[in-house]
C-alpha cells in the first residue's frame, strides 16, 4: 500500500522531482536498521543485568536484522545519490561515512561472535559489543544536522510541516509502519528458527 501511494498518490517534490520517491523506502529502512540496533542493545543490557542467556540469542538476531536493513539502506541511498548527485558514493558526506562505519561495526560483531566458543563468555562479550555500537547511532543520526558542507537532504527538522505535504507525511508514516512490521515479523521468524536449531542440537546430544 505504501509503495502504491508513493508511486501514484504523492506529488513530485519541488526540487527533487520524481526521484524523491526513494525517500519513502530509504528513510524507513534506515530508521528500521537503527531500531534493530537499539533493540539489540536493549537485549544486551538485559543479558548483562540478569545473566539470562536467552537474551543473547535475541540480541544476536536483532543485530542480524539490523545488518540486513543496513545493507538495504546503503544500496537504496547509493541509488538515490547516483540519480541526485551523479555519483554512487562520496566520502565527503559525513552522514554516509558514519552510517558505513556503523554498518561495518555491526558486521564485525559476527566475526567476534564466531571467533569465541559458545557459552556465557561469548554471550557477555557480544552483549558489550552490541552496547558499544548503539553509541554510534545518535552520532550517525545527528551527523546531517552537524555537517557543514551539507548536501544530504534534511526532511525532519523544525519546518517539517513546510517540507512535507500531508499526503507525503501520511505515505511516509505508512511506509515506516510497514517496514517496522516487516522487520518485526522477520525478527520473530529468525529467532524461532535459531531457538529451534539450538534445541535440536541439545536433543541430538541427548539422544546420541
Amino acid at each position: 500500500m505504501g509503495i502504491s501511494l508513493a508511486f501514484y498518490w504523492v506529488p513530485d517534490a519541488p526540487i527533487e522531482g520524481f526521484r524523491q520517491r526513494i525517500f519513502y523506502i530509504h528513510v524507513p529502512i534506515a530508521l528500521t536498521a537503527y531500531a534493530c540496533f537499539f533493540w539489540a542493545a536493549w537485549k544486551a543490557l538485559r543479558l548483562l543485568w540478569t545473566r539470562d542467556e536467552r537474551y543473547d540469542l535475541e540480541s544476536y538476531t536483532a543485530v542480524h536484522m539490523g545488518v540486513i536493513f543496513g545493507i538495504l539502506t546503503l544500496v537504496t541511498g547509493s541509488i538515490w545519490a547516483r540519480t541526485s548527485w551523479g555519483v554512487w558514493w562520496t566520502w565527503s558526506e559525513r552522514q554516509l561515512v558514519l552510517f558505513l562505519v556503523l554498518f561495518l561495526f555491526y558486521s564485525a560483531y559476527f566475526m567476534l561472535r564466531f571467533s569465541v566458543e559458545p557459552g556465557p563468555r561469548r554471550a557477555r562479550m557480544s552483549a558489550v559489543y552490541a552496547l558499544f555500537g548503539v553509541v554510534l547511532i545518535p552520532v550517525s543520526f545527528l551527523a546531517i544536522r552537524l555537517a557543514e558542507g551539507l548536501i544530504h537532504p534534511v526532511v525532519f527538522d523544525r519546518d517539517v510541516g513546510e517540507n512535507l505535504a500531508g499526503s507525503q507525511l501520511l505515505t511516509f508514516v505508512i511506509c515506516l509502519a510497514g517496514t517496522l512490521a516487516l522487520a518485526g515479523s522477520l525478527y520473530l521468524n529468525e529467532l524461532t528458527g535459531k531457538r529451534l536449531d539450538a534445541r535440536l542440537a541439545e536433543l541430538r546430544e541427548a539422544l546420541s
Binding site: 529502512i29 538495504l72 541430538r204
Partner: protein, 64 residues
C-alpha cells in the same frame, strides 16, 4: 521511462529482491530443520524399540 524513474524503480526492486532472497534462504533453513526433526524422531523410535540391556547381577549374590 526517464532516468529518475528507472533509478527509483530499481531501488524498490532491490528491496523486494533482498526480502525475497531472505525468504528463500529461510525456506531452505526450515526444510533442513524439518529433516533434522525427522532424523531425531527416527533415532528416538529406534532407541525405544531396542531391547533393554540385562541388569548386572548383584555383587553379594555372586559372592554368596
Amino acid at each position: 521511462m526517464s532516468s529518475a524513474e528507472t533509478y527509483v524503480t530499481a531501488a524498490y526492486l532491490v528491496v523486494l529482491a533482498v526480502v525475497l532472497a531472505y525468504l528463500v534462504i529461510y525456506a531452505f533453513k526450515l526444510s533442513r530443520l524439518e529433516r533434522e526433526v525427522g532424523e531425531l524422531a527416527e533415532l528416538a523410535r529406534r532407541k525405544r524399540e531396542a531391547p533393554e540391556p540385562e541388569p548386572e547381577p548383584d555383587r553379594e549374590e555372586v559372592a554368596g
